[in-house]
């Protein structure tokens, strides 16, 4: 396409085609639902539609993530916004004949409210979605990720057209600043200000980078956005590049996301084919190209300077940020690096205006944020809420509260750079300042719910282990400081703890946070400090009583079979991978303490509660 007019008329044609359909079956084809068979279901639907001669009048759209991963495969049928869950290939016939042909709802596929038992028909009424504001994620169902036509039909690239036709770069920056958009990758830096500094910096060429490294374990928001709606990200980058004066862009996708890589690559090729990337875009004189780069398995490459080093073909070692990357970044040229979610917000801000965005959220944290709600909660999945929503709403109203009826104890936010907050803090609103003050952070959006069966000292150990593994090792406080903290916490979890070690931990935490070279080191102490702050009693139990209250730390627990309850079924014996259990059939079984490594597999296997932890 050589002009905006061509784009507009293409959009009108595509939109009309969409409206002409008598119905649309929208099916989630993302990793979660795919693992539950959504692609088989898609094939079955295609077959049904073909058999009934409906393949031209009914659209089957396989999309990215809808967010409600717990009840997948997930389907929405239009018209009517009908929401079906746990759909299988066998249901295809009924869905097409009843819902599509006769406009009738298939009761058994509807979502049942867990409290009232009532069936909910519309997607917008499903409790999981009701408390959300799905500005970004809600668009996933409007497009098939591999179809740029879908994106355009839904208004895609109209923000780009508006920017090229009606706005100067300064105006774009102004709008971005006025919206209050802050980085969604964890840093929370005001996006408009970042763009402004980069525009003002000297050096050519300038670069725009999309950070899709998403290394925080437990976070997959960026994956779902990039896989489900890659063009939204590209459009955001185009607008940002125009504002900054950049000619080249990179999307750095982590190695562990093959589908996201594929999705991004396809989207770039499609955009290039239609003239939306490349030289003289839509006849405006603005040129911009995007390359997709692949990570190679390093969490530290989510840090901006390390990412840039990796793009340059080097090891991902961060460098000091006394000179900011907006002035000297990739190849020492002015570079703007933003997170996937940050970029995806940009086209909407341009389309609906900065005031629309700024109306949502709190005074300092505007807009919405996507969270990956996982762990010991009933409804796991991706959740998008207005900034300022209380944690309680996320965990109970949306998440459905504790899984398995075991009490929720804590929530961990912000990944390895964040912290754990106890239930007493669940009324806190989710925003940058509040969570940071409480000892955690919004971070990239990971939110892991923990219950009484989670040991908080073990959680601290888990994160220290992770960070030590992922540390680049260059600077002394991070490499050695984290190691020494891990040494102490390990001592504590293995019964060698002493009270003086708590003071030592706090000392180390201060040294590591203040003197580390990059953000990985600087935030490495957060899991330890937050668990010490709110769960000190657990540390004290481990140190003073040599006891692990949650029954997790292997050196401090013992597995034992209660002879009175044991029926001799032998399930534990068969399940034990270390061959530590012995016993005759129908006779009581015993665990050999010397061989037992306390993995707990037998405990899960036993149907009679005969395996006891003490």
């Amino acid at each position: 396409m050589a002009s905006i007019r061509e784009l507009t008329s293409l959009r009108e044609t595509l939109a009309a085609e969409r409206r002409s359909k008598r119905g649309t079956i929208i099916l989630c084809g993302d990793t979660g639902c795919e693992a539950s068979g959504s692609h088989l279901l898609a094939d079955a639907i295609r077959k049904e539609l073909a058999e009934r001669g409906l393949e031209d009048s009914v659209e089957l759209r396989v999309t990215g993530c809808h967010g409600f991963c717990e009840v997948g495969p997930v389907m929405v049928v239009e018209p009517g916004n009908i929401f079906y869950c746990h759909v299988s290939a066998n249901d295809a016939g009924e869905i097409v004949s009843a819902t599509i042909e006769r406009g009738q709802v298939v009761e058994r596929l509807l979502y049942a409210d867990p409290v009232s038992g009532k069936r909910v028909i519309k997607e917008e009424h499903v409790p999981f979605y009701r408390a959300q504001d799905r500005v970004l994620l809600g668009r996933n169902k409007l497009v098939s990720p591999s179809s740029i036509e879908d994106y355009i039909a839904e208004g895609g690239y109209s923000s780009l057209a508006k920017v090229l036709e009606e706005m100067t770069p300064e105006q774009v920056i102004g709008e971005t600043k006025a919206s209050g958009l802050r980085g969604r990758g964890g840093g929370g830096f005001p996006t408009g200000r970042k763009w402004e500094s980069c525009r003002a910096a000297e050096g050519e060429p300038k670069y725009v980078i999309c950070n899709a490294d998403e290394g925080d374990p437990g976070a997959y928001m960026d994956r779902s956005l990039l896989e489900g709606n890659p063009h939204a990200v590209l459009e955001g980058m185009l607008i940002g590049a125009y504002a900054i004066g950049a000619r080249h862009g990179y999307v750095y996708v982590r190695n562990e996301y093959p589908m996201a890589l594929e999705s991004a690559k396809v989207a770039v090729v499609q955009a290039e084919d239609l003239g939306l990337l490349g030289d003289n875009i839509l006849g405006s004189g603005f040129s911009f190209d995007v390359k997709i780069a692949r990570g190679a398995g390093a969490f530290v490459c989510g840090e901006s300077t390390a990412l840039m080093a990796s793009l340059e073909g080097k090891v991902g070692e961060p460098r000091p940020k006394d000179v900011h990357t907006v002035e000297e970044g990739l190849r020492n040229k002015p570079s703007t690096l933003n997170n996937v979610e940050t970029w995806a917000n940009v086209p909407l801000i341009i389309e609906k205006g900065s005031a629309w965005f700024a109306e949502k959220g709190t005074e300092k944290s505007k807009g919405t944020k996507i969270f990956a709600l996982t762990g010991r909660v009933k409804n796991t999945g991706l959740v998008e809420v207005e900034m300022g929503t209380p944690l309680r709403t996320l965990i109970y109203d949306i998440g459905g509260g504790a899984a398995d009826g075991v009490g929720v104890k804590a929530v961990q936010t912000g990944g390895p750079s964040g912290g754990c907050l106890p239930t007493s803090k669940f009324d806190l609103p989710v925003d940058f300042e509040t969570l940071a003050e409480a000892g955690s952070m919004v971070g990239s959006g990971g939110m892991v719910v923990m219950d009484e069966r989670t040991c908080m000292v073990d959680v601290a150990k888990y994160f220290l282990n992770f960070l030590l593994d992922e540390s680049c090792g260059k600077c002394f406080p991070c490499r050695v400081g984290i190691d020494r903290m891990l040494e102490i916490v390990t001592d504590i979890t293995e019964g060698r703890g002493s009270p003086e070690q708590i003071a030592l931990l706090e000392d180390l935490a201060e040294t590591v946070s203040e003197t580390s070279l990059c953000a990985l080191g600087k935030t490495a102490a957060n899991p330890v400090i937050s668990t010490l702050r709110y769960f000190r009693d657990e540390y004290e139990a481990h140190i003073n009583d040599k006891r692990c209250p949650a029954g997790v730390c292997r050196e401090l627990i013992e597995y034992w079979i209660d002879e009175e309850k044991c029926t001799g079924c032998g399930a534990c014996l068969r399940a034990c991978p270390h061959r530590a259990i012995s016993g005759e059939k129908e006779g009581p079984h015993t665990i050999d303490a010397a061989t037992c490594v306390k993995c707990g597999i037998c405990h899960d296997e036993c149907q009679f509660d005969a395996v006891v932890i003490r």
Partner: protein
């Protein structure tokens, strides 16, 4: 004509040639900021973190390494505040717990005020200061060795663990290595590591040192200026 910028070091406003790092500026004015990975003719990498200072900006103090900080007009720096002294002491304590078997490291620790080590000693023979790697790359352009591995596994190694034939056998790597300076009377036995502080000059320096020392040549080596007769 050389261009100058003016910075405030510990309250004193001084002119500094443009492009100088804050560490070099401080050293030239006799403020002996302790350092380990810094070598005057090698690119600074800021990995030992001992040269940290406070950079005062907008009423806030930011802790950063002075070897990687270019002096800019109007900068306000505090090299020896209580916070910095505490952090430096703790870093030095960790350093000597990692590799006590070196006079240079022990002297540095004493210099930074370490009197007790609260961590179990480890007996590493490399502190990953990167002096050898940098001199091999920048001065001799041989690139015969480098940092390999990540995190705890990071080490200095030849490619494939074998000294390559393009090693120029200059031995500068050995000359610069702080671990080759072992304490008298000899290397410590494993399990019997301790802070010897036998270098009397450094210990007395640490005790008698005024807030702003003005004649220390710490940057030239690990010898006390008093010993060389300059005080």
């Amino acid at each position: 004509m050389e261009e100058y910028v003016h910075i405030t070091l510990d309250g004193a406003k001084v002119p500094v040639p443009k492009g100088t790092t804050v560490l070099d500026a401080a050293l030239s004015y006799g403020i002996c900021i302790p350092h380990l990975c810094h070598v005057p003719y090698l690119t600074p990498i800021g990995v030992c973190r001992l040269c940290i200072v406070e950079l005062i900006e907008n009423g806030r103090a930011k802790v950063t390494t002075s070897c990687t900080l270019d002096a800019k007009e109007g900068m306000v720096i505090r090299t020896n505040s209580e916070k910095i002294r505490n952090l430096r002491r703790k870093l030095a304590e960790l350093l000597v717990a990692e590799a006590p078997n070196s006079r240079a490291v022990q002297d540095l620790a004493a210099r930074c005020g370490v009197t007790e080590v609260r961590y179990p000693f480890r007996n590493h023979d490399c502190v990953l200061c990167g002096r050898c790697v940098r001199v091999c790359e920048e001065v001799w352009q041989a690139r015969a060795l480098g940092f390999v591995g990540r995190g705890k596994a990071r080490r200095v190694e030849f490619p494939f663990g074998v000294k390559p034939d393009f090693c120029k056998e200059c031995n500068t790597c050995i000359d610069l290595c702080p671990m080759t300076i072992t304490p008298c009377p000899g290397p410590m036995k494993t399990g019997e590591e301790y802070l010897c502080a036998q270098c009397a000059s450094q210990v007395s320096m640490a005790e008698n040192m005024p807030d702003t020392c003005v004649l220390c040549d710490l940057g030239q080596g690990f010898q006390c200026a008093r010993q060389t007769g300059q005080v």
